[in-house]
Symmetry: C2
Subunit: 131 residues, 2 copies
DNA sequence: CCTTGAGATTCCAGTAACTGGAAGCTTTAT
DNA sequence: ATAAAGCTTCCAGTTACTGGAATCTCAAGG
């Protein structure tokens, strides 16, 4: 398989696939013309990576997960632990965004949004303690 | 004022302040020794920027907001529009994370997390349609 | 007066995970 | 034969800083 086919089958752009090779996530063979020659196994890995990235795992997490995926003697606890840590970080991020959203929504609501210059949003940003 | 004082008064690290000058957000004067000489106005701007960044506005948004802040003839509608767009993006992000969180939490729950290799998380990642 | 030490300066590199584009080779289709 | 598509590598850019090196200035202690 050439990169184009693997790209459409895995859903990842060719650029990304080359990048994944660069950073050592995959190791496709080469044909005599210098083209990458992907095996089914490579495709599986790429699919795995695509899905992992979709779930928000970092590349380093993906590296770990891929290694566990390939290790027939892994303990599922290791996988679960990576996923749990990621889940915690997602929860943190959500909480952060929600708090931020609250403040911002309040400010937006306070602003008339007309042709006059008075603006509670700018007032808040300028550092005055919000009333 | 030297950069150190502005840093502690604005809450921004000196590095960040220099960076903001680099990209043209502020324009402090210089003393004869080559040191930046900040006026109160610069400090206000930096405080404004710090608060805006805390609320998640991008640097480009900050540039726009700062310009509006300085423009005595602005229309509050312009400010509101920037903030509303940002709010929409935050909502999108939250929705994305929550959906992701749902999937991930389900997978984590399904995984025993013991010393055996069987792992529903890896099975999902490997691309098999989840049962 | 000299010498630290703190604080200032610039510049270069690195972060995360790609993405875009240039220049050039191979293969395929007309 | 030639043009288009697809592949290759390499360099740069994205976001918003942050760390570190080499150098310079300033304030205080002995």
């Amino acid at each position: 398989m050439n990169i184009g086919e693997v790209a459409s089958r895995s859903g990842l752009p060719p650029k990304t696939i080359r990048y994944y090779e660069d950073i050592g996530l995959i190791n496709p063979m080469r044909g005599e013309n210098g083209y990458r020659a992907f095996r089914e196994e490579d495709l599986h890995k790429l699919t795995f990576l695509g899905r992992s990235r979709t779930l928000g795992f970092s590349i380093e997490d993906c590296r770990t997960l891929l290694a566990l995926y390939e290790d027939r003697n892994r303990e599922s606890a290791q996988v679960k632990s990576v996923a749990e840590e990621h889940l915690r970080q997602i929860d943190d991020k959500i909480a952060q965004l929600q708090s931020l959203r609250g403040t911002l929504a309040h400010l937006v609501q306070c602003c008339q949004g007309d042709d006059r210059p008075d603006c509670p949003i700018l007032e808040d940003l300028s550092g005055r303690p919000a009333k």
